[in-house]
């Protein structure tokens, strides 16, 4: 059996899966104490279950997300080497940010050597402030990690934890590398404590199978391995719902996935079972990062959003939420009250809900039922409008080759899959608003927990070979090898695949789910004057989000 758990903003869902069957699903309110919530959820789902039967478990938590949003990050010093470009002070982050002398160019050649005395001076200042965690980041460190490694080597004795930029991602983006490294460093202590405590709870409950956390790219990572880059576990909720949609439906063709919740509607697109990934990285709180994620958009319209009628008769649904719906003791009309009024939801105080709809109706010149109908139409219309803009933006992303311009693969969703509590009730309205067939899968209300449960481990490597410099580097794996002029694409592919699989196994992948895909592949002849001096090979390979083979649901 497989256990999946998703901690949401208001509810925590847990499921128990056996083969293709959801054996059990529970929902409890999310409390302020994350560990307590997890413990309570586990107690509930495990009653009457032999713990030995649980062969695997996965969690989508809000630990990192909340720490970032609520600014509960550990105090972290930063040592940066930059060189020419934007003033690095623009990216100052944390309480003690220092720029030291030293610079690499875009090829990874050293343009200005590191200045040890300025590095040590910075380190000592950080230490004097009582900070014992640091991040070390260099511009172009993914082309040559030598400066980061050197700084780290000089100062590691002074700190309990050093996070480095080059291992975060092979992607180029110095500011994002700074912010991602900062988050990894500043979440380290909190995350280590959390994973320790969770391990303890699971041990206590005799749950000894592999344990995973969900990442924003819809993949999982082994719980104990996640401490090296804790920022990678933030913002996993939207990914959980996409993976759930994939598990419960399959999402053939171009599918728009909507997760309608209490406060928001999250949207994403899945193309033939493959979620669209953000080419740059996810934004966590204020920080744009290099962490790969599924492209999702969160719209502030959900079942508990405030419904207002403007003086001009125009109705809005969201983006505010002011407490619970009227049917549950709240003060402001919401779509949930519309559902209760229409008898689509047999919960809460129907009389109160109807009164709220009547009040709306008086402003609109209709009765309560008609007003409720209008609310659901307007909610669906708001979602549809946002979804169209979302798809438009994905299709407007720049491309850099003639091939891509001429063979443009525009996403045109052919159908919509809706999950989340109000899914079956809102689906007919969304169908009309978008003019596309809408489906609601079974277990739509615990799709996130299912998604977490059956998502496989994902990983990515970026290989760059520069035969002029005589190096091949895979920053995510901390690999750098000498190479000769004959190094070619075939060798690059073989090397990347080997490293990728090893990386994936290290973070918990099972050897039966190592499907590798090349996501970017370029080779350039490097000329100086009229002479070929080398070859520049760029390769990205990944294990993309997908479902574990144990999930045998016949779709």
């Amino acid at each position: 059996m497989i256990l999946g758990l998703d901690v949401g903003g208001t509810q925590t869902d847990t499921v128990l899966i056996d083969g293709d069957r959801i054996l059990k699903a529970t929902k409890i309110p999310t409390g302020d104490n994350l560990l307590l919530t997890l413990r309570t959820a586990l107690d509930g789902i495990l009653s009457g279950v032999e713990p030995e039967q649980i062969e695997r478990m996965a969690f989508s938590t809000t630990l990192a997300t909340n720490a970032i949003v609520e600014d509960r990050l550990g105090r972290t010093g930063m040592i940066i080497s930059a060189g020419p470009g934007i003033d690095p002070a623009c990216f100052s982050v944390g309480p003690s940010f220092h720029v030291v002398e030293g610079c690499l160019d875009h090829q990874g050649f050293e343009a200005v050597p590191l200045d040890k005395s300025s590095v040590m001076e910075a380190a000592e200042k950080i230490q004097e402030e009582g900070i014992n965690t640091i991040g070390v980041v260099g511009k172009f460190s993914v082309r040559n990690a030598a400066h980061e490694l050197q700084i780290s080597d000089w100062v590691k004795g002074l700190f309990s934890h050093v996070a480095m930029g080059h291992s975060v991602s092979g992607g180029l983006n110095f500011p994002r590398r700074i912010f991602t490294t900062y988050l990894n460093a500043s979440l380290h202590e909190l995350h280590t404590a959390f994973s320790g405590a969770l391990t303890h709870i699971l041990d206590e409950k005799n749950l000894h199978g592999p344990r995973y956390l969900l990442k924003p790219d819809g993949g999982t990572i082994d719980l104990m391995r996640s401490a090296g880059s804790p920022a990678r576990t933030a913002q996993s909720g939207p990914a959980a719902s996409v993976m759930g949609a994939l598990a419960l439906d399959g999402c053939r063709g171009a599918t728009l996935v909507l997760d309608v919740g209490g406060t928001t509607t999250d949207m994403s697109v899945v193309l033939d079972g493959m979620p669209r990934l953000n080419p740059h990285g996810v934004k966590l709180g204020l920080y744009k990062t290099l962490i790969r994620s599924i492209i999702t958009h969160s719209l502030g319209t959900g079942g508990d959003s405030v419904v207002q009628v403007k003086t001009n008769g125009k109705m809005t649904v969201g983006p505010l939420r002011k407490g619970p719906p009227v049917a549950f003791g709240g003060a402001v009309a919401t779509p949930t009250d519309a559902l209760v009024t229409l008898g689509l939801l047999a919960l809460g105080n129907k009389v109160a809900a109807k009164a709220a709809m009547e009040e709306l109706g008086s402003a609109l010149g209709c009765n309560a039922e008609a007003a409720a109908e209008r609310v659901l139409q307007q909610m669906a219309e708001t979602i549809a409008q946002s979804a169209r803009a979302f798809v438009y933006d994905i299709n407007a992303q720049p491309v850099y080759t003639i091939h891509q311009v001429l063979n443009e693969e525009k996403i045109v969703p052919a159908s919509v899959l809706i999950v989340g509590g109000p899914a079956p009730h809102i689906a007919p309205y969304v169908e009309k608003a978008l003019g596309l067939p809408c489906r609601v899968p079974p277990h739509y209300d615990v799709a996130n927990a299912v998604g977490a449960a059956v998502a496989r481990v994902t990983a990515q490597v970026t290989l760059q070979a520069d035969t002029e410099r005589g190096t091949v580097i895979i920053p995510e794996a901390g690999e750098e090898h000498k190479t000769d002029r004959r190094f070619d694409m075939d060798q690059a592919i073989a090397m990347a695949r080997k490293t990728l699989c090893r990386q994936a196994m290290t973070i918990g992948a099972e050897d039966n789910s190592l499907e590798t895909v090349i996501t970017e592949k370029q080779v350039f002849n490097m000329m100086r004057g009229y002479r070929t001096v080398g070859r520049n090979i760029r390769l990205k390979m990944s294990i993309t989000p997908g479902l574990i083979p144990q999930w045998k649901r016949s779709l």
Binding site: G83, P84, G85, I86, D87, C90, F91, C103, D105, H106, Q107, A111, V112, K139, F140, G171, L172, N173, F174, P175, R176, H280, L286, K288, A396, Q397, P398, V399, Y400, T401, I402, H403, V405, L406, Q522, F524, N525, M526, M527, G529, Y530, T532, N536
Partner: protein, 435 residues
């Protein structure tokens, strides 16, 4: 956190799958390191810098600026259409008011492409600025345009296309034609009979440095722009004046380009040449994007700037001061004596044009109607070593009835002649006819 004071559009199209030939300076690798630098700087994440996706230009867009022989398909590839299309995207972004200015960082370049196109000249097939300007005129009702070409090579293609147009001020700053391709661009090339003084060439001596470029800009270019009063300013932002450039002999720098851009404040900048792909372009382009966005560029420089940049010599400075003085006298203080022509007089000129890249020899015979009411109709008959023999007739925007009548007569006569093709480019009516 950093954000851009001026909202700036960026159209980036490195054409990673196109080259003139594998070893040509205009090859796949050219903007690779620029892309690396732009990405690594995180420029596209800065609020206020907006990246746009390219789209290919249509043949119709090209027909406003060129006579392609025998047709567009024969002298362009997809890459040319996309490069020109990138400029159209930049123009739309600015003219729809989505951004204050935009930079089309595209390749292949275009400023050596003339009105008649038989093939590739100086790495260019299609004049991407001219295609863009005529698109702007057609779609946004703009007339007065200034082009400041800061590429190291004389923008002879752009000069040719706007030679007769009094509504276009074309200023080219370049390395002296006696020392560099294409060998033209001297002060006495100052525009056709209906557009005298609307072409201004500033041939700077080899080894001109930051000081010289900025001096010419402040003393000459800015006052000329002020006097002309354009509705829109285009910068043909070639980057081959750089001290690291392998095919030229100038002494400009990333910092210099950034300052130039900041002072010039073009509405739209378009990349032209620039072949120091590793140690100039990455820094120059970052500098230009940041300058357009109004960001502080004082940290932008080449890693070898301190080591290799030499300030301009005294000789060069004196030489430039003299040149600028002469040009000021001609173009700002009325020294250029406009030749009087009779209304309706037809002037002819014969020219030989060489297409270096494709090895084509062309002979042109051009007729222009002198006119004080409009830009004047003109016709070009052209014979090329490819065996082509064509005639192109151009009716300008807002043509006067007399010029229109003359042009239509030329066209009718041409149809009966021995030409393989006769083209009519009627800008006023938006018509392009081929017979």
């Amino acid at each position: 956190m950093i954000s851009a004071p001026r909202k700036t559009g960026l159209v980036f199209f490195p054409a990673f799958d196109w080259a003139i030939s594998p070893e040509h300076p205009e090859r796949e690798e050219r903007l690779l390191y620029t892309q690396d630098q732009v990405m690594e700087e995180g420029l596209l994440d800065i609020p206020g810098i907006v990246e746009y996706r390219v789209r290919p230009a249509a043949y119709e867009d090209i027909q406003r600026a060129h006579f392609c022989v025998p047709d567009e398909a024969a002298v362009t590839t997809k890459s040319h259409l996309i490069s020109a299309g990138g400029c159209l995207v930049a123009a739309d972004a600015v003219l729809k008011g989505e951004v204050e200015s935009a930079f089309a960082l595209v390749r292949p370049p275009g400023h050596h492409a003339m009105r008649v196109v038989h093939g590739n000249r100086g790495f260019c097939n299609i004049n991407i600025e001219a295609v863009m300007i005529e698109y702007i005129r057609t779609h946004y009702g703009i007339r007065k345009v200034a082009i400041v070409d800061t590429d190291c090579h004389h923008g002879d293609g752009t000069q040719d296309i706007y030679w007769h147009d009094p509504n276009t001020l074309f200023i080219s700053i370049h390395q002296d034609g006696r020392t560099l391709y294409p060998g033209s661009g001297f002060p006495n090339e100052s525009g056709g009979p209906n557009a005298q003084g609307k072409t201004v060439n500033i041939p700077l001596p080899p080894q001109t440095g930051e000081k010289g470029f900025l001096y010419a800009l402040d003393e000459l270019v800015m006052p000329l722009l002020e006097e002309f009063g354009p509705e829109i300013v285009i910068n043909s932002a070639g980057q081959d004046n750089h001290f690291n450039d392998p095919i030229t002999n100038m002494n400009f720098s990333a910092r210099g380009y950034a300052v130039l851009n900041k002072r010039l404040k073009p509405d739209i900048a378009v990349l032209e040449g620039g072949y120091a792909i590793e140690n100039a372009l990455p820094y120059v382009n970052v500098g230009i994007i940041m300058a357009m966005a109004g960001l502080d560029t004082s940290f932008v420089k080449e890693p070898n700037y301190e080591k290799d940049y030499r300030p301009q010599s005294r000789d060069v400075t004196l030489n430039i001061e003299q040149l600028v003085e002469t040009l000021k006298d001609l173009f700002l203080w009325g020294g250029l004596k406009k030749k009087p022509y009779d209304e309706g007089q037809i002037l002819e000129r014969k020219r030989d044009i060489f297409y270096d890249t494709d090895g084509i020899q062309e002979r042109q015979n051009e007729k222009i109607r002198c006119c004080s009411h409009c830009a004047g109709a003109f016709s070009i008959s052209s014979t090329a070593s490819t065996g082509q023999h064509i005639m192109g007739v151009h009716i300008p925007m807002e043509a006067c009835p007399a010029c229109r009548k003359t042009a239509l007569n030329w066209f009718q006569t041409g149809r009966k002649g021995a030409f393989k093709h006769v083209y009519l480019q009627d800008r006023d009516r938006g018509v392009y006819d081929v017979v």
